[in-house]
Every structure is written in C-alpha cells, then in structure tokens.
C-alpha cells in the first residue's frame, strides 16, 4: 500500500532538535557554548555525536577528557537505546529543543555500557537484529544472509544521519527480507517488542507474544498491553494515567500488532514502546 510505505519514510526521517550543554563542573579553558544538532530518531547517541565531542574538545585540555556520556535532567542516557526511544521515554512532554548535558568525567560504571568504538555499536545493533529474527523466523532469515548483507544493514543505519533517499532504499532493500512471513501463517512467529517503563526498577518488559491467536484472531496493541502490562490501559470509567508512545505518537490500541511490527519497528527490527505518565492538566 502506498500509504504504508510513507509511514516507513516518516519513521526513518524522524528528527529531534537537541541542545547539548557541557556539564558545569567540567574543567574548561574558556566558556563552552552550547551545541545544537538535529538527532535522527533511528540512530544511537554515540554514533551521531562526534561533532558534539569535537565542539567541546576545543575548550578543554586532553587530560580532562575521558569517555563522553550524556544525561537529561539527572538521568544518564543509555546510548544503546535508539535516540527516539530515549526522547519519548524521558522528554516526551517537555519543551523543545531537547536539552542534554554532556560529561567527560565520572562515567557511571554501573548504569551505562562503555562505547569505545563504532564496532561496539555495530555489534549491539546486529545483535538486536539477530534476536528479533530469532523471534520472528527462528533465525532462519538472518542466518541465510551473507556477511555483506549484514554490512548493508549496518551501513544503512550509519547513513540514517544523512537525509538521503538512497540510504533509506539501501537499508530497506535488505530489511524487507526480515519483514516477510509465510502467507499461510498470517504474520511472524513472535513479535519482537520491548515495553519501557519509567516508574519501575525494571527497565523493560519483553515476552513471547504471537501476532495471531490460535483461532485466527489478529492481535492488537491493546491485546499486547492487556497481556503483558495491563496497568497501561485505563479502565472504562477511569481517566488515562499513562501514554503508550511509539516514535513520538500514540497509536490507537486497535492497531494490529503485526502491522506495527512491520511499519513502526526501529532499524533493529524491534518495536520499542514507551509507557510514560500522562501529563496532568
């Protein structure tokens, strides 16, 4: 469907205007100006912030620079989460631009993963794709791909920062194989999803969930939530306590899960769903 392909493009090209400010306790030789950047929702912080690092390096001494990390309002930001997810989870109902604080010292060892090079980001990304395919196709599709096909997926993601139609096509030429399923099945074996919570110690919920029930009923987003996180769905007489957000929007709970998985997944083939408190009026 022509409309559905537009959804893929809109998701791919999503951007968040961001303002990076150096943490006040960092040692600088002169005052550091904030740095503005449009961040691609689909990418990862450490993949797209070289310019940020270079900007602040100009006013700092080399010996005061360790691994760069970020926080938003005191919460350290996990680089291995897609940027769009981080925004939806932590800053959905705040004013733009998104204000991120940059650190070069006191890396929070217990909470953040280290990211010494792009290889680590690639390994993480490919690992997610592999896991998603284990759920969708028992790993058959990903294992049938050659190493160069894996590279094409990774190159496509690296290039998401470029607003180029070619790069979108390059990625989807390979990714569409991961989105196929036998017609008689009606959908994937299980849907790769994670529901992220802000009001819990647990970072996310991930369970086995089929897109089609044994008696052929198409499962919706609402069915998924009722099964794995019923707290997110208001009772009929209650006002809404939570928002269920994917790529910055609240899809209707009646949306078929299979459709969401095919169209609103991230490049890592996972549906990353944020459940956040609804803003009080």
């Amino acid at each position: 469907m022509a409309d559905d392909k537009d959804v893929l493009r809109d998701v791919w090209f999503g951007r968040i205007p961001t303002c990076f400010t150096l943490y006040q306790d960092e040692i600088t030789e002169r005052e550091a100006e904030p740095f503005y950047l449009l961040l691609p929702r689909m990418s990862y912080l450490t993949l797209v912030t070289d310019k940020v690092k270079k900007h602040f390096l100009k006013v700092m001494k080399a010996e005061d620079i360790e691994e760069m990390w970020f926080d938003f309002e005191g919460t350290s930001l996990k680089w291995h989460y897609p940027i769009g997810l981080l925004f939806d989870l932590h800053a959905s109902n705040t004013a733009l631009p998104w204000s991120i604080t940059v650190h070069f010292k006191n890396f929070p060892e217990r909470d953040l993963l280290h990211c010494p090079s792009n290889s680590v980001i690639e390994a993480h990304f490919m690992s997610s794709i592999k896991e998603a395919d284990a759920l969708k196709h028992k790993s058959q599709v990903i294992n049938d791909m050659q190493k160069k096909d894996h590279k094409q997926l990774w190159m496509g993601l690296q290039n998401v920062v470029l607003c180029s139609s070619d790069k979108f096509d390059q990625f989807w030429a390979m990714n569409r194989k991961l989105m196929e399923y036998p017609t008689e099945e009606g959908g994937f074996r299980y849907i790769p999803f994670r529901i992220y919570l802000t009001m819990s110690d647990r970072p996310f919920i991930q369970k086995l969930f089929r897109p089609i029930s044994p008696d052929g009923h198409t499962h919706t987003l609402g069915d998924l939530l009722k099964e794995v996180y019923p707290v997110a769905i208001p009772n009929d007489d209650e006002s809404k306590h939570y928002q269920v957000v994917i790529h910055g929007i609240e899809p209707l709970l009646e949306t078929p899960l299979q459709w969401l998985s095919e169209h609103l997944s991230h490049p890592d083939n996972f549906l990353h769903i944020s459940v956040i408190p609804a803003p009080s009026d």
């Binding site: 691994e67 909470d111 390994a123 284990a134 110690d201 647990r202």
Partner: protein, 246 residues
Amino acid sequence: MLHVTIPPFPPPEMSSCFLDEETFCQCCQLLLQHSHSLCDGWSWEQVKGSEEGYLRKTALGTGRTRCNLDQQGNSSDQHQERTFSLSFHNDDDDDDEDDGAVCCIQEESSSSSVVQYEYHILYSCSYQTPVLYFRASTLEGRSLCLEEVWDSVHPNYRQRLQHRPWDTITQQEHPLLGQSFFVLHPCRTEEFMMPVLKAALEEHRQVNYIVTWLSVVGPVVGLDVPLSYCTQKHQWLCTRRLIDCK
C-alpha cells in the same frame, strides 16, 4: 524435597532442544536444593510483582587487573600499547571517527589479583535458553573493564572466544535490573547442548538442563560446577518414564 510433576527432559521430539521458562524455573529450583546442601552460595531472586526470577551467586576469584588504574578505571599511565586487540569483526570500515584506542593490557602492567564476581543466570525468551550474566570488581570496589575481563578468561578458552563473534563476552544491560553486566552470548547454546541431550535420551538418562549448561559456560568465566551437581540423584528431573523417540 520438592514434590512436583515435571515433564520429562529431553522432550520426545529431539529436533530442537529449547528450554521453556517453566522448565527453566524447575531446573533452577533443583540446582538450589543441591546448592543449599553444599552451601555454595546460589540464591533465587524474584522480580517484584512477577513470576520471573533468576539465580544469583557471588564469589571471590582471581582475575587479571590493571594495577595502574584509578577508582574510575582510568589509566595514570601515559603509554597504552596495542598488544591485544578486541574487535569482533575485521574492521575495514572507516574508523577515524573513533575515540582512539580500544584499550589494551600490557603484560607488565596487569597482575593477578582477587576479584569479586557476581553471577546471574537468567532466562532468555528470545533464544529459549538460559543466559549467564556477570560483573566483576576489585576488592576496592572498582568495576573491571571488558579488557580486564577478557584478560581474566583462562587461556584455554580465550582462542575460542576470539574467533567466533557470537560466542563472545560483551557488555549488556541486565534486562531485569537495568545495570551493566557482562554476558556470554546465548545464540550458540543449542549447538553444544544438543549432543548432550541426545546422548541422555539414547541412554534413558534425564538431565538438569541448567546444571549441564552451566558446567560448559561457567568455567569460561571462573565459575566452576562441583561434580556432585551431576551425580546427586535428586538433581535429575523427577519423572522416571522412559522416553520414546519418534
């Protein structure tokens, strides 16, 4: 003594040997029973408000740590030679945007020291296998970095880990706690479990999946499994039915 009805393991059709979550929990409970008798430190941690949980154990072991690192794990040493490289792939892609050294350990600047390990055994529903998570710190409380963890792996296992990207140790987020842990990647588990389970099936023996699995992956990261785990009768699953393989 635990009185439960547990379906026979290995399952009758041996085309795959995936572990379902219920059997995972039951195998863990059996392991715990034996652990209590040995007092070797395993406990079951339940996730608040859910039936999910994981096995946990802390232990002191040896590891190779860098002696010139400060509390934050940063080197006071000016020299960092690349004697040991840590990439998973042959990096022919453009790396000049990287931060610089994937830091390495020179033989002279690392030494054997006492390390505090914490091991968690979780269930992966994506791969339908158990997964071993662990973290390590010095006695002063400094977290070991990935390079030190690699250096602490027994030389016998190191070659295997280096050449097969999917068998490797990486840093990951703990799915239940949200903190940084090291993980042995689970996607090849079926490869080494299958022959063991098939043999058990043919010989009409039953096995504790977790004990068998742990005895393979544990020693790689300093976690040994005493032999009595496999020889104690109550470690086998309770059902004594013979399995017909169709």
